[in-house]
């Protein structure tokens, strides 16, 4: 009895310590990002930094505007979601509602492999396959247009396609499990009322799984927003207005590509870029929390 009590106590202590490590890490990161990211906001000026459109950190009169960088992150993530979520959701419908066990197994393991693929592989394929194709498209679209700066296919469109593929596994797996969690009674009731299988899926099952699907979308946003390596390899990396055929830089690649040699205010601004990214991720997680709560409330 006493021995068991000791084991209980010890286990509890170890578990508590582990939990504290996670909390401590989050608090430390948050604190660090604010401490490191805030000075540049003061030094450069909040408006000049966040909404400035000229990024010339090493010029004799430097300019640290990151507005185009923020926009590039938001737009490429948004567009990737627009492309990736429908494909992901429909794949999830296929997996949970239509496919047999055998075919479902094959698609399922393909999705898992896609999820486990390191982002540098996506970047490599994007750089070697997608970019040359984009260059051909770019030459066709802008033939004879002297005002367009040719990027060799490294543009925002490439980044969007790569991101859309990269968020697929997240969206698919979360959506599949939430669709599978929908009670079979609902399907039976819908079919009994004379609805076809398609009507049942789109009018009854998907609405019932709404909060789970939203969770998948939000997780996809988080993944797309935080991706650095693949984007760095395919998006060109010059700071430009985020148009489809322009070479762009996102919040993540901004830090990756310039941290190496940056110093002084330039370096501080990169921390502010990190802070902005971190705030975006916090907002995404907040929405995620709300979506989950809404889901729980619905099930009650």
């Amino acid at each position: 009895m006493r021995k068991n009590a000791i084991i209980e106590k010890t286990a509890q202590a170890i578990l508590t310590i582990c939990a504290v490590v996670a909390i401590f890490a989050v608090c430390a990161i948050t604190l660090y990002m604010f401490i490191k990211g805030a000075p540049a906001l003061k030094e450069v000026g909040v408006l000049d930094l966040l909404f400035g459109t000229i990024w010339k950190p090493t010029a004799s009169t430097p300019s640290y505007g990151i507005w185009y960088i923020i926009l590039a992150s938001v737009i490429s993530t948004g567009a990737a979601i627009l492309i990736g979520v429908p494909i992901g959701l429909l794949t999830a419908v296929f997996l949970s509602e239509i496919s047999g066990r055998k075919l479902g197994g094959i698609v399922g393991s393909a999705v898992e492999l896609l999820a486990a693929t390191p982002s540098v592989i996506y970047g490599l394929i994007g750089m070697m396959v997608l970019n040359p194709l984009m260059f051909k498209l770019e030459k066709a679209v802008f033939a004879g247009d002297a005002s367009h700066q040719f990027t060799g296919g490294a543009n925002m469109l490439s980044a969007i396609f790569v991101l859309a593929i990269m968020i697929l596994p997240t969206v698919i797996s979360v959506c599949t499990s939430s669709l599978k969690a929908v009670s079979d009674n609902l399907r039976a009731a819908s079919l009994a009322l004379g609805a076809t299988k398609e009507q049942t899926i789109f009018k009854a099952v998907i609405p019932a799984a709404k909060s789970g699907i939203l969770t998948g979308v939000v997780l996809g946003i988080g993944r797309a927003l935080g991706e650095a390596m693949a984007i760095n390899m395919v998006a060109g990396g010059a700071v430009n207005i985020p148009l489809p055929f322009n070479s762009v830089r996102t919040l993540t690649t901004q830090i990756v590509s310039e941290m190496g040699y940056a110093s002084g205010t330039h370096r501080q601004v990169l921390f502010t870029v990190g802070l902005v990214l971190y705030l975006f991720i916090m907002i995404v997680n907040f929405i995620l929390l709300r979506a989950r709560k809404a889901g729980v409330a619905r099930e009650d």
Binding site: A59, M128, F150, G152, A154, G237, A238, E258, G260
Partner: protein, 279 residues
């Protein structure tokens, strides 16, 4: 294994000192083995790779000497050595006349060369520095304007803060007005992208030039070590370690530092970081 290497390095270092002793005075030779003190350097950020490699190796050979290097920029480095707050001022450019008149001695320790590269299918392989500046500022945007195929020019460069970018823009006098289509964060990435993208142009340090790309002639001169040493190839800059007065007037540690730079081992380090040994 590592002990052997260490022993070899030490032996080479000692030999270098013996050399240094010969060229200066007998006294140096006698004391060089137990040299203690500090050497302070400040200046060019572009010279970081060279200074780090050199100081690390130098301190292995001379455990008693501490070398500190600050990377504050060429201008600040020259100022610091002029005011006497450091022993050596690093500058990745030739000294100006007034700086030399102010008592500084220009010790060129290495030469940095930049190769302009294009993909192997490009028929334009020779450009003038004016044309190059126009390509990088966006004034020339198609190879046909330079007598090549009707092919848009994809302008590739390095990220802000890169030493190669600084050097390139400075030498062509296009600082902060370049219009890059792609900004990549490593020499290897530039090389790979240029090799893979038809109609592209990029710049890399001379030492990484290989046959996956064409190293363009500038003003008719090939990007080779011979042309750089002859002074005909335009895209080059000296790495200067400026001292107040001649090297022989410096402290023993500083004299040992320069002796080490000129030793076989020091020159090996200069080559290893991609630079050219001046003659």
């Amino acid at each position: 294994m590592s002990k052997k290497i260490l022993a070899a390095i030490t032996a080479m270092g000692l030999m270098a000192f013996a050399f240094a002793g010969c060229t200066t005075t007998e006294e140096t030779e006698a004391t060089s083995k137990s040299l203690t003190g500090n050497i302070a350097l400040a200046g060019s950020t572009s010279m970081e790779k060279l200074c780090e490699a050199m100081s690390e190796s130098f301190m292995t050979v001379n455990p008693g000497v501490t070398v500190t290097v600050e990377y504050t920029g060429s201008g600040a480095g020259i100022e610091a050595v002029t005011s006497g707050s450091v022993d050596i001022g690093d500058a990745s450019r030739a000294l100006k006349e007034d700086e030399i008149a102010g008592g500084l001695v220009e010790n060129v320790v290495a030469i940095d060369g930049i190769a302009v590269i294009t993909d192997t299918s490009n028929s334009v392989t020779d450009v003038t520095s004016e044309e190059l500046a126009k390509i990088y500022t966006g004034e020339i945007s198609n190879w046909s304007e330079l007598g090549g195929a009707d092919q848009p020019i994809v302008v590739i460069g390095r990220e802000a803060g890169s030493g190669t970018r600084d050097a390139f823009e400075e030498l062509l006098e296009v600082e902060d007005i370049c219009a890059y289509a792609q900004e990549l964060d490593s020499t290897g990435a530039v090389l790979a992208k240029v090799a893979a993208t038809p109609g592209s142009i990029g710049y890399v340090s001379l030492d990484v030039l290989d046959d996956t790309v064409i190293g363009m002639k500038i003003n008719g001169y090939e990007p080779t070590e011979e042309q750089i040493l002859a002074g005909t190839y335009a895209l080059q800059r000296p790495f200067v370690m400026a001292t107040r007065g001649a090297i022989s007037e410096q402290s023993e540690e500083v004299q040992a530092w320069f002796a080490y730079l000129n030793s076989a081992e020091g020159q090996e380090i200069i080559r290893a970081v991609g630079l050219i040994v001046p003659q």
